[in-house]
Each structure stands twice: as structure tokens, then as C-alpha cells.
Symmetry: none
Subunit: 120 residues, 2 copies
DNA sequence: ACATAATTTACAACCTTTTTACAAGTTGGA
DNA sequence: TCCAACTTGTAAAAAGGTTGTAAATTATGT
């Protein structure tokens, strides 16, 4: 996300100042928390945001508080992002989450080793 | 809305200097408060106007005042805007309202997976 | 395999908006 | 002035949306 508060790629468009998000030209209705979460993640595109940082900044929770609230909100956000939810919001196990720019899925290349080629 | 105080799209026309509003070529009779509300919203097309801002600017109410007056006026305005009322004036839950340019409703695309096509 | 972490579902509490109805206030004309 | 029509604000009920948590399930790393 740039300093203008805009993010755009092939599928997703985020306009922070106008609080508008769309996926494939389709407007998304996000709740405040969902929006804040996406805003914070996307504003730090590519960076890992630790759970405690997110819980602190968005919820004002201190480290001690044990909750699954963040996870549930991540889930709701991913769901609203539809097909691409999982690819935009990546889980860093044991650490937190990271927003990632859309990457065209790679075509899988089947490589058949000649050494193991079926002998018909 | 431009600096000329004019707004126009496929269905709605707002002329602030002349205090004229029409929907589908049909003149609309708005009360003063309704007009002020529409004027303020449309002048800030695309921007979220928080409740407290609207209540302050249009009613001179301070933050402390708890009232449903704004909501009721929004309702009356939407109603007069007819079919498009809801699409022009968007509710931002817990925040305020936003005027949005008319958007052609998306045609839904029915996609029948070949995998599940009925076999006649 | 184990312990730990994340995902997912469902639900209840809470809060906000919508809607209806009414009464008070205002305006303009007879 | 008085009336009728219109405007406006408020109350209250209904409807709707948001959020956090619990609990079961699934995934991950060692």
C-alpha cells in the first residue's frame, strides 16, 4: 500500500481514505473491525504483523489477554475476500499474519523423469 | 459534486444554486432540511460523513445530543428519491452516511458447471 | 505422537439503524 | 385572525448488524 492509501492489483482494490474495498469490481461491505484489520495489513504489504501487534493496535489488548478474536476476524475477512482470501492474507504460524499482493497462480509443471518413465 | 454545485447522472439531477432536484426528469419537492442534507451529502460524493458532523453542520447539535432526528430525515430523503434512495445514500454502520453516484446494477451471471450439467 | 496453534461454526449480548406514529411548530392565504 | 397544510423533532418498537467467546475440529512443528 502506498502513502496515498490506495492498493490495487488485478483483483483487489482498497481505497483507505474512502473506506472502499472491491474484489473483481464488486463492492465489498466490511464491518469496521474487518476494515481496520485489512487496512492495517494491507498498509504493511509484505510485512509480517505479529498477533500481539494487531491485537494491540486494533483492539487495544495487552499481551496477556488470550483470545481467538483476531483469528475469527481474519476468517471473516478472508471469507469476504472470496476466492482470493487465503492468498491475500497469509498465516505465519506461531507469529501472526501477512498481507501479500496477488500472485498469479503458477501452472503446475508435470515433470516425468525419464529414469522412471513407464515402460509400455 | 463539482464546484459548480451541480450533480448529474443517469437518474438524478441536483442543482444546488437553484435548489432543484429531479429524479428521472421529475421534479422533487424537498423540505429545507431534506435539501440541506442532500446538498451536504452530495457535495461530498463518495466521502463518509459521520453522524456528528451532519448533526453539527445541519442542526448545530453538539456531540452529546442523542437523537434519531438524522435517521428520520435520511429516511424521508431516501423515500423521496424513490427506487434509488437506498443506492444513493449508503449507511456506514456506526459511523454515518455517504452519498454515492448511481451504479448500474450488475447483471448476475449464471454459470452452470459442465460437470453438473443435466444429462437429458 | 505430542503439544501447541489456527480454523471454523455457532451463538448470545450488545449496539445501531429503521420504521411508524404522533404532537408541536411553522407558514401562507382567506 | 384563523384554518389548513406542511415541516420538524421525538419517542418507542421493530429490525438488523457487529462483535467477542466458547468449543470442536483441523493443522503444524518438533
Amino acid at each position: 500500500m502506498s502513502t496515498t492509501g490506495l492498493y490495487q492489483d488485478q483483483h483487489l482494490e482498497i481505497n483507505l481514505p474512502q473506506a472502499m474495498v472491491s474484489v473483481d469490481e464488486q463492492r465489498l461491505i466490511l464491518t469496521r473491525k474487518e476494515f481496520e484489520l485489512l487496512a492495517m495489513l494491507s498498509a504493511n504489504e509484505g510485512e509480517i504483523l505479529p498477533r500481539n501487534v494487531l491485537l494491540d493496535r486494533i483492539w487495544g489488548y495487552s499481551e496477556e489477554i488470550r483470545t481467538r478474536t483476531l483469528d475469527v476476524h481474519i476468517r471473516r475477512l478472508r471469507k469476504k475476500l472470496g476466492l482470493y482470501g487465503d492468498s491475500y492474507i497469509q498465516t505465519i504460524f506461531g507469529v501472526g499474519y501477512r498481507f501479500q499482493r496477488f500472485r498469479e497462480p503458477r501452472a503446475l509443471i508435470s515433470y516425468q523423469s525419464p529414469l522412471f518413465a513407464a515402460t509400455a
